[in-house]
């Protein structure tokens, strides 16, 4: 088998491994079960949309507050924070599940480089992140459209008109920085090694990143409130370069730890 097919097979398996929301005893593949799941989700969203529609239609106060909430969750800073944190948790969870589920012996005895094993986990995390990002964008766009349609005259409604641009901008930035957070999740291997520094390393890393962003006006520009209108391309490029550079360093460190310091 080629390395490429091994890699994508591992990615496929890892993406199932990290499924928090999947029921352990879910009987996979049966058409009736899949149809029932879709129907249940469809009904849930229809009910939620109906309740929301009723709330927006009947109460101006509710509508105004809902506009504020929508505006907040699509603001660059908040959206970026959550969108970037998600990939970190994905990789971390996928790695921890190998140990928790007792599959780690099989996984670590595979005759492939530790780089390939961790890269497969990171890719599985990235694909799941893209799915979540799409869902987030679709739901926010739907809620915005619904609110604008039902309450075109409520206070601050103008705030919602540029949400699509804001979401697009936040999504692009989140995708550019996601490798860093995905790879950061692979440091979960530190917890399984003799170097138990993860609880110290992660907060120090987070503080370092926040410090660098706060101190650099060029980096701060990426998170400014009007960045989606006039994207600071040079700053975005810089963020991408930092993200890629740090990701590479952390990835090599994590693979080295996995190969030489992790024991079962």
């Amino acid at each position: 088998m080629s390395t490429s097919s091994v890699f994508w097979t591992l990615v496929h398996n890892d993406s199932r491994l990290g499924s928090t929301f999947r029921l352990e005893n879910h009987s996979k593949g049966k058409f009736s079960d899949i149809a029932a799941s879709f129907l249940a989700f469809g009904l849930f969203f229809a009910l939620a949309a109906l309740l929301l529609g009723f709330g927006l239609h009947s109460s101006d106060l509710f509508s105004e507050r809902f506009v504020v909430i929508l505006n907040l969750i699509s603001s660059n800073g908040v959206a970026l924070f959550f969108l970037a944190f998600i990939p970190f948790s994905f990789t971390l969870e996928m790695l921890q599940r190998e140990w928790k589920n007792g599959t780690v012996g099989w996984w670590l005895s595979l005759p492939y480089s530790r780089k390939l094993l961790l890269a497969a986990k990171s890719m599985a995390g990235f694909l799941r992140f893209i799915k979540i990002l799409l869902i987030f964008v679709i739901i926010t766009a739907f809620l915005t459209t619904l609110t604008i349609y039902l309450k075109p005259d409520v206070g601050n409604i103008a705030l919602l008109h540029d949400i699509p641009q804001r979401l697009l901008y936040s999504s692009v930035i989140a995708i550019l920085v996601s490798p860093l957070f995905l790879i950061l999740g692979t440091l979960a291997v530190l917890e399984k090694s003799k170097i138990r520094l993860l609880p110290i390393f992660l907060p120090a890393f987070a503080l370092g990143i926040i410090g660098v962003i706060l101190l650099s006006s060029r980096l701060r520009a990426v998170f400014s409130s009007d960045a989606y209108l006039f994207p600071p391309w040079l700053s975005i490029l810089l963020i991408f370069a930092i993200s890629t550079g740090l990701s590479t360093l952390i990835f090599f460190f994590a693979t080295n730890v996995l190969e030489h310091k992790v024991e079962l």
């Binding site: 088998m1 091994v6 996979k28 012996g105 099989w106 005895s109 492939y112 024991e263």
Partner: protein, 233 residues
């Protein structure tokens, strides 16, 4: 005929913090035979197997697996069944075999399917729903269906019913007849497994206390189990 030793431990020591798992162990394991690795809890049996696939690194000494140091790079030639290891619960039996065909070099899918059939495994069954015995059978298939030089089985009979044990034993024998290879079985269930051993090694507190030809030991002492009792009671 002179015996060939493919696996050698020379003066190997391993400590977990202050506890010695292997204490200057020197042992050789013959090629093309089924070797039983026996001893009480904490004797160092699992550590020895893990070292062969690079899951544990020695503090001192030299380990040679067919002339090479243990590493993931050589694991394409080794099938390892981890102690208390579980397979991916969200896969079905059929998916597990298809997955194994891709990720395990030299995995014989047709052989695996035949084994699954003979071991009463339903291909559509999800692994998380299998009983402990059925899951143990699947784990064994994932090792025995690989055309490799070395098979390491860490407690393959642990906590499973008599019928499953018999089926597993039969499959190990069939696998040897089909393609001779070196198999090391680490187990506490000596009674069930002793008939398949060609060679046995007894470990205690990380050191080898006895090693020899299984048939010879059986002829001298009646059974491997009675040797075990004499050594450790």
């Amino acid at each position: 005929m002179e015996m060939e030793y493919g696996i050698e431990f020379k003066n190997v020591t391993k400590a977990y913090k202050k506890k010695l798992a292997l204490d200057h162990l020197t042992v050789s394991i013959p090629t093309g035979q089924i070797t039983g690795l026996l001893g009480p809890n904490g004797a160092g049996k699992s550590t020895l197997l893990k070292m062969l696939v690079g899951l544990v690194h020695q503090d001192e000494g030299i380990i040679s697996v067919f002339g090479q140091s243990p590493s993931w790079r050589n694991n394409g030639e080794i099938a390892y069944l981890p102690d208390r290891g579980r397979w991916y619960g969200l896969q079905t039996v059929a998916e597990a075999l298809a997955y194994a065909e891709v990720i395990f070099p030299a995995f014989d899918l047709d052989l695996a399917r035949k084994m699954a059939d003979s071991m009463d495994l339903d291909p559509a069954a999800q692994i998380s729903t299998l009983s402990k015995g059925l899951e143990a059978r699947l784990n064994l298939i994932l090792c025995l269906a690989r055309r490799v030089r070395l098979i390491l089985l860490d407690e393959p009979f642990s906590g499973i019913d008599l019928v499953s044990r018999d089926k597993i034993t039969q499959n190990i024998i069939d696998s040897m007849l089909d393609l001779p290879k070196t198999i090391i079985i680490c187990t506490h269930e000596i009674h069930e497994a002793e008939s398949i051993f060609d060679h046995v090694i007894f470990l205690d507190k990380g050191q080898m206390v006895l090693a020899g030809n299984a048939e010879q030991l059986r002829a001298e002492k009646g059974s491997i189990e009675s040797v075990y009792r004499q050594l450790f009671q």
